[in-house]
């Protein structure tokens, strides 16, 4: 039963994708929306069915053998266990809510059919990613979501900048994917299988803990995860990816796709436990990302970019959790993050549409009275984001992460986490104040048109808001037996102390934010206007200059290379032969000048040479 439900929930989005893609433009916007949203709704129902039918044991279904050559036997097979069920729940559940919201958000846009075709293909690919029972099929989903992300970031294709953002997102994640592919090659050659279960089974037997090969394999997989999850240094694509429609940002670039890296590492936990150094590196990268992104979020003016950096930062938390071996905590935070970040993005989308596609913080402001639903969404989502104690979902998951970090004795990561909490408070408050309070910055903000549709506008926001409170945290079932014991499960000393500490960090952040943005607003403005403050602002606004680094380190040299080789110099080399022939031709043509004297001379020359050689040979012969 469960497998049928699972397959069904995969097939429904795929079927609707095909229907939408091949309908051409025969389907009207209404029908497209109905098919697009309806199929994901049905998939969500199927997932619910699968959840109900779940017996506690993991189940596999092999549809067919993909390729079979010698040892190389990857299958098209799905495995359903707790982890994939949680992910499925997020993908179809949150996905359905976002689709529903998109029906409001995208109304009146051109190319609705294309939008839903991409979105449903994305849901399908993402489901394959989390359900795949072998790495090659996982890679199918992995690349599939990348392609959908490309198609959706560049949805507004008329603007060149959007296309380049999509291009950048695809290429940067593709660089990560190559590492993942290399990891797959290594695993296949060393272990002889791509089946995830077998790989995890066999790996400890083939590789000693901490052996070089295990480290390399884990490192390569990590490379893939970094690209997809937008962690340092492959993170530069995510802020630009906000060029897509807001529901896309909510679904792909906040709730699901960017967390695929976390899922991958959690799924291959056994491999990473064999490579403790790499696992630590995961944590360090997470910590670095969360701090860099947290600081960068402080200096953004585009509300979606603030949320994008916030996403990076939160995924950094998940990486920290992975880095200390607390896989369960990472997935927990992934879940709650999916709820509250989707809520934040959808609320932002509501604001953006209400204000006629205005998303600059400076041009918004004072909207709380006119847009109460979006305001409520931002407040609840923001509370979860800063992990407001006890009432928010984010508190429980983040607390779990910090606690595990402390239990694992990683003081550095813990401090980064706490500092990150302060930063989160700062930028969240700045964001909410910037949008909903103060003076409206533009005509659009003064006369917004709030969303009124109960079903497609209010409902998704309300449901997500509920899920972002402690209720959402309660919903999380826990994956205990699937992962090896996390460090914090044995001990319990100091947990309360940590909770107090974390709460203190949150409060400190909020208080600091309140003081800065409410009391000392003028002073703040004057600081960032000039001198070191302005330089600091620019640096943060450009997110520490990684873009420039890539531009001058990779993109420009590549362009020079392309430009330099455009003439195809190797071909020129081959053309040298033709040149020689042509020169020879020119030389010989000159002799055919029609002058009898020249011909006679040449003839005589020939005869003379023959005669002289005759003389010489005769002289030599006799």
């Amino acid at each position: 039963m469960m497998t049928v439900a699972t397959v069904l929930s995969c097939l429904l989005p795929l079927a609707s994708t095909l229907a939408l893609a091949f309908s051409g433009e025969r389907l009207g916007p209404r029908a497209s929306t109905l098919i697009g949203v309806g199929s994901v709704g049905l998939a969500a129902l199927a997932t619910a069915w699968a959840l109900l039918a779940y017996s506690g044991a993991s189940q596999s279904v092999t549809l067919w053998t993909w390729v079979s050559v010698g040892d190389f036997q990857p299958t098209i097979g799905l495995t359903v266990d707790r982890l994939s069920l949680v992910m499925m729940g997020i993908i179809t559940g949150v996905g359905f809510l976002i689709h529903l919201f998109a029906a409001w958000y995208m109304a009146g846009e051109a190319g609705i059919t294309r939008f839903y075709a991409w979105m449903n293909l994305f849901v399908f690919s993402m489901l394959i990613l989390v359900l795949a029972d072998n790495l090659l099929l996982l890679f199918l989903g992995w690349e599939g979501v990348g392609l959908c992300s490309y198609g959706l970031i560049g949805y507004y294709y008329q603007d060149e900048a959007n296309n380049w953002a999509a291009f950048k997102a695809f290429i940067v994640t593709r660089i990560g994917d190559v590492f993942l592919a290399l990891g797959m090659f290594l695993i296949f050659v060393e272990i002889g299988s791509l089946d995830i279960g077998q790989v995890l089974d066999q790996a400890p037997r083939v590789w000693a803990e901490g052996s070089a090969t295990a480290n390399i394999a884990a490192l390569l997989i990590l490379g893939g995860a970094l690209g997809k999850s937008a962690q340092v240094p492959l993170h530069t694509w995510l802020p630009d990816a906000m060029a897509g429609p807001t529901p896309v940002s909510a679904l792909i670039h906040a709730a699901t796709m960017v967390t695929a890296g976390v899922y991958l590492i959690a799924r291959l936990n056994g491999l990473f436990l064999l490579a403790p150094d790499v696992l630590l590196l995961v944590g360090v990268i997470g910590a670095v990302s969360l701090l860099l992104a947290g600081f960068a979020a402080l200096a953004q003016t585009d509300i979606k970019r603030v949320l994008a950096y916030s996403t990076m930062s939160q995924i950094g938390y998940m990486f920290v959790a992975l880095g200390v071996g607390a896989f369960d905590a990472a997935i927990f935070h992934l879940t709650t993050h999916a709820f509250f970040k989707a809520l934040l993005f959808l609320s932002a989308g509501s604001v953006i549409i209400s204000c006629h596609h205005e998303q600059e913080m400076g041009k918004l402001g004072g909207l709380w009275r006119q847009l109460p639903v979006a305001y409520a969404g931002f407040l609840v989502g923001g509370a979860a984001l800063v992990a407001l104690p006890l009432v928010s979902a984010g508190f429980f998951s983040k607390d779990e992460i910090l606690w595990q970090t402390m239990a694992a004795d990683r003081a550095g990561l813990l401090i980064a986490g706490l500092l990150g909490a302060v930063l989160t408070g700062l930028y969240t408050v700045r964001l909410i104040l910037g949008i909903f309070h103060g003076e409206p910055g533009s005509h659009h903000a003064r006369h917004p048109e709030p969303g009124k549709n109960l079903f497609t506008h209010h409902l998704p926001l309300i449901v997500l808001a509920v899920l972002s409170t402690f209720l959402g945290a309660w919903l999380y079932p826990g994956l205990g037996e699937l992962f090896p014991a996390a460090p914090g499960e044995a001990a319990d000393t100091g947990h309360t102390l940590l909770q107090v500490l974390a709460t203190g960090a949150v409060i400190a952040g909020l208080a600091l934010a309140g003081w800065l943005f409410l009391m000392r607003r003028q002073w703040l403005h004057s600081v960032v206007e000039k001198g070191a403050g302005a330089r600091c602002w620019t640096l943060l606004n450009r997110a520490w200059g990684f873009d420039a680094l890539f531009k001058w380190g990779l993109v420009r040299p590549w362009q020079w290379l392309v430009h330099g080789l455009r003439c195809d110099f190797i071909n020129r080399g081959m053309n040298l032969l033709a040149l020689i022939a042509r020169v020879g031709n020119a030389g010989l043509v000159r002799t055919q000048n029609g002058r009898v004297r020249t011909y006679a001379c040449v003839m005589v020359l020939g005869v003379t040479v023959i005669l002289i050689s005759l003389v010489l040979t005769r002289g030599g012969g006799t």
């Binding site: 000159r590 002799t591 029609g594 002058r595 009898v596 004297r597």
Partner: protein
């Protein structure tokens, strides 16, 4: 020594032939080219006669007759061409007549 050594006769023929050849290569006027050809044919005939008298056989002289016929034919056709050339181009310089551009 009795009589002329055959080599001397042949060397004379070779000298005349080379002179004719040199004329052929040097001169641009068709008249001189034709005369050079006559000289060369004549040298060939001389060589035949030398051979004929050295061997004391009449066959060489028969060949000489053929050579002389050839020379006559060549001269008549060549001169006819030259007249035609002169009528068309008002020049008998072969270089001026050449139309091939290498």
């Amino acid at each position: 020594m009795n009589g002329v050594p055959m080599e001397h006769g042949l060397v004379l023929a070779a000298t005349l032939f080379s002179l004719g050849l040199a004329g052929l290569m040097l001169r641009r006027s068709m008249l001189f080219v034709l005369m050079s050809l006559e000289i060369m044919l004549n040298a060939a005939g001389l060589a035949f006669i030398v051979g004929s008298t050295a061997w004391n056989q009449p066959d060489g002289q028969a060949m000489f007759l053929l050579v002389i016929t050839l020379a006559a034919a060549e001269a008549s056709v060549g001169l006819a061409l030259m007249i035609q050339l002169y009528q068309r181009f008002h020049s008998i310089k072969l270089d001026n007549v050449s139309r091939m551009r290498g």
